[in-house]
Subunit: 482 residues, 3 copies
Amino acid sequence: MRKIYVTILTLISIFTATIIAQDTPAVSDETQECIDCHESLTPGIYADWLASRHSKMTVGEALTLPEQERRISVSDTKGLNDSTAIGCYECHSLNAENHKDNFEHFGYDINVVVSPNDCSTCHPVEVEQYLPSKKGNAHFNLKNNPVYTLLVNTLVPADEPGSAHSVAQDQSCFACHGTEVKVEGMKTIDTDLGELEVPILSNWPNQGVGRINPDGSKGACTSCHPRHSFSIEVARKPHTCGQCHLEPDVPAYNVFLESKHGNIYKSESHTYNWTDVPWQPGEDFRAPSCATCHNSALADADGEITVERTHDFGSRLWLRIFGLPYSHAQPKEGETFNITNADGLPLPVTFDNKPAAAFLISEETQKERKDLMGSVCISCHSTSWTEAQFGNLEKISAAADKSVLEATGIMSEIWNKKIEDNTNPFDEEAELLWVKHWLFYANSIRYATAMMGPDYAAFKNGWWSAKNNLVKMHSILKYKSK
Amino acid sequence: MRKIYVTILTLISIFTATIIAQDTPAVSDETQECIDCHESLTPGIYADWLASRHSKMTVGEALTLPEQERRISVSDTKGLNDSTAIGCYECHSLNAENHKDNFEHFGYDINVVVSPNDCSTCHPVEVEQYLPSKKGNAHFNLKNNPVYTLLVNTLVPADEPGSAHSVAQDQSCFACHGTEVKVEGMKTIDTDLGELEVPILSNWPNQGVGRINPDGSKGACTSCHPRHSFSIEVARKPHTCGQCHLEPDVPAYNVFLESKHGNIYKSESHTYNWTDVPWQPGEDFRAPSCATCHNSALADADGEITVERTHDFGSRLWLRIFGLPYSHAQPKEGETFNITNADGLPLPVTFDNKPAAAFLISEETQKERKDLMGSVCISCHSTSWTEAQFGNLEKISAAADKSVLEATGIMSEIWNKKIEDNTNPFDEEAELLWVKHWLFYANSIRYATAMMGPDYAAFKNGWWSAKNNLVKMHSILKYKSK
Amino acid sequence: MRKIYVTILTLISIFTATIIAQDTPAVSDETQECIDCHESLTPGIYADWLASRHSKMTVGEALTLPEQERRISVSDTKGLNDSTAIGCYECHSLNAENHKDNFEHFGYDINVVVSPNDCSTCHPVEVEQYLPSKKGNAHFNLKNNPVYTLLVNTLVPADEPGSAHSVAQDQSCFACHGTEVKVEGMKTIDTDLGELEVPILSNWPNQGVGRINPDGSKGACTSCHPRHSFSIEVARKPHTCGQCHLEPDVPAYNVFLESKHGNIYKSESHTYNWTDVPWQPGEDFRAPSCATCHNSALADADGEITVERTHDFGSRLWLRIFGLPYSHAQPKEGETFNITNADGLPLPVTFDNKPAAAFLISEETQKERKDLMGSVCISCHSTSWTEAQFGNLEKISAAADKSVLEATGIMSEIWNKKIEDNTNPFDEEAELLWVKHWLFYANSIRYATAMMGPDYAAFKNGWWSAKNNLVKMHSILKYKSK
């Protein structure tokens, strides 16, 4: 009797395995040759790829899906081999002519770093949305803005006096913003298969969002879609955003985790469908993750798209609650280093909170974006609730701005009385308190309301810290003046 | 051959689906009309409700369960419609006469905010336990205590000078403690189904534990049982408590996560049964979550209740380790604003650590509660272990109190020497250090032992921070005196 | 028709249950007697044991497995009862003659605390690796080092003036490092089964890694393998290391959680095989946990061991990035209190960063260990990537050391000018800043690169904090000199 059920179980397993096996297309000869070695040499990334959609589908098969369920954004297979899966060679051999990191690898010309320009072969819309965004320009937004560069150089030591670069800066600020990866020559390394000549990459490894790549392109898709599974589940879960959007300066992830949304995520996310495209509130998930509100394509119960997918992560936002030093309307362009305010500084607001309006989105655009974000909220919240929540965010941003204005007032007095010297506004005691005021505390207060994690507005980098800061700044003004 | 197994698999699925489908009762006509629109308008909350026990069972069916397995605490269906599930209309139409937030909504009179008074229709025992507790009074315990109100107003700016209220306070302190939600009039909003007149709620949205509701009642069951799934799994997991019980002032959640209990929870909780009522240590779970020790009904291997469920979350506690400014016996009543100590202040201890004994539970009650909590511990720990652990907590609380006494001594000297002015004891440099001493550091040290996350007693807001604080307070005393 | 499928489902369940049931060996008569009471008295730990491998296998059965799949390291059953599972009595009765905590318990002589010496009955290799390591000596490394003892006594109050011990120290520093558990007599306790005389243990409960046990042995296997499931899943997940390796001083866990590895762990770890021995990258897991890199046995696709298991957790490390006060080559021996540097202090480097080379591993050993760790990385990363990552770590460690040297220079000047007194270097304002510099900030900067969580090098205890610290130390030097 037992035998029969063992047989049934075994056959069910075989049958299931067969279904799965049937889905997997062949790989190209070149990729097969990669796999022949790398399956055992680097089993982790081989397994990642095997778990990926790239291993399971040809471009042509992807194109047979309804457009809104696709994850590629080309409309035909022109120029793309359609008989095979997307394997090692298909990505690592693209646009070799641009790749300074291309090298001869056992008879093949291989690029070390696959860039957004390479990914755009199949995902052009995503790359077109991403590149002009703040994220796509994250390297230059730090490097080309003299105010931010001064902050970086003041805080993090350069390799040599006078140098504007260091491993320490690459491993802190530019780890998230993206380094400039350059090819500095070739070197010979020992491998299990003998000597191999490989490119020497500087400022590497790095997966920062605005990385400058050896092919001259910007960005790193792998920031959010870790190689080589490029999993939509990983990208949609909050932990991906949580690699960089962290307290004390950008506590988005931390606030989310302490919010009601975060509570439900932590308790129930194992019951969600993390891979459905488009993503249906209610059907696929209940409480949102970062991706839900900020970039995923959402659909209603009939599968109709209600909010379009975007890879410009600021495009559903109207107010920029990351104060520099005050909150302000989102910048029109992702290249924020081009902004000039009325004081002539490359900042979106002046020290007395006058916005550089010409560089910021209009009230009309703000309204459109607020409606767009609202259309996400109403999957679970009434119109009244949503409006009240947005209203609270705007009031809180103004309250935090007022507190920054007070701190800036004390700072000015400290500078005016020559207690500290504003040649470099980032290197003395009160100055660093002032930076904390807008960069840590005012931001925390705003994020706490934006994503409803109130402890970040109370005792944790919130009003408590802001009050402490003002008291300390006053104390410096009182005790250190002549 | 394959066909046969496909058929078997399909039939198994259909059969399983049928079993589940059979459990779901009909909904009332009114609720059906809600669903007709809201299923597509707000699919998230519809899905939440669909996943809830409310959608799956009538009151009568719930009453057929053995009493200790029930989640309702009425004893008969008198006055309750028993032919339908508990749907939208069943809750949002209750006690309309009390609800200032009631409005006409497409032919129905609907309350926006469902209150504990409404929930008590089926869950009277839970509400009766909750309302007189510290949590049920969390709004008034802040608002009606002049010392705490002064702290709130000093830290978090009011909307206008002289005002005792602000959005900033609602979005920080009162986000957890609960706001006062008031109806301020009506407004017309645009919806997909045309214009709609809805109530304008002030200090909203809010889910704080002591919220004042538009029907005049106190509390928000949704603080811990998020609408509309009201999931026991969510309430039992630590992330619910972790919305508010957070470092630096109440690091219960943080300490738990770093404890052995937290380690096992994070590693193994996917193997637990999170919904069984009563909850059986060993059978349903191994390491406890917050709810296990503080409020769930626990049963032994035979299903006999060993510890009763409570919604007065302090009722298994003897010592209040949240120092104000010293640890003390738990207050007799949840309305802590009624306490007056020997100095005439509304605090449970004086500044020289004399307890307001008349307002605190007796030694006998303390002993009873310690035994009650001990009866939870012994599911996994020996009597000796448990006693030693409780002994350590009491010794550590005394050690932390001693450190607060030292800080208070320095503070007094600073006030006596007029270095700072104690008219407002919360607004100068040493004063804020002194507040940190009892509110952050002494609390962390006590919670670290209570729930065994020792880093909170060492370098993270523990003894390290307390020592730093004393040194800084001494420094102010030394350098700022005449 | 339904009946047939119910029958099939039922039979499949029974069959599966039978397979599992067949695996479980009998328990000894003594253990059965323990279970007779403890199954209902302490159901949590009974369930833990039931879930453990100890309940499921005899020593003899374990020995039938291929050697590399075993979790015991004895080679025969000599001296061990092989007809029964490893139950309560098998462990709690071992080596009774050494156990001062042995007591008469309903006719049996039982040890309260099972020690590594007891575990070594079946797991001798693991204990031999562990005991001489830094972890195995964690109690003495704190207690026998006069510099660290001074730090402990300065920060955490002793029970009495002059005493070198306190419950507060046990509940903070020694909670992780391990207390000295001593038997201080016997006491009579009330239990459900009548009065019972049990040993009084001091400094208990404790599960610190270097605990001194009542049998005179060192260590606590239960630090990482929580009783009584001793789950390999728990030990391999990062939360076990995360009980102690925490910010601000040792932010290994925190940095991991914010890294790409941590992101993938949090998103995908539910798909991993956490119990396979040896552990196969790619096959069993993708992104590593702490255990993967630091101690697990890893195998290639053919099941051949590529990296041996170790319970000396420092043995794959070459550089010690936990600065004391600078980074340095790993110590040769785990008993670090034996180190003496050129200044005669028990520290691995002098204050001007001269290593105590005689006590530290050679460059050759460092190279061997780097190759060993590299052989873990190359499961997923190229040789070039790995080399670049290791190079970055070394450069960052040097940069952090340079910053500590600058802080130490200011500190020396403060001491030389008698602004502070270096008799105790841990109890004044600038001194505590200086301690933070090397213990918190330089460590965070190094860990951030080591495990790729860059925020810990930027604004969170990283370069930002280090800069703030230097500015504050300069300020003390400037404003507090005569």
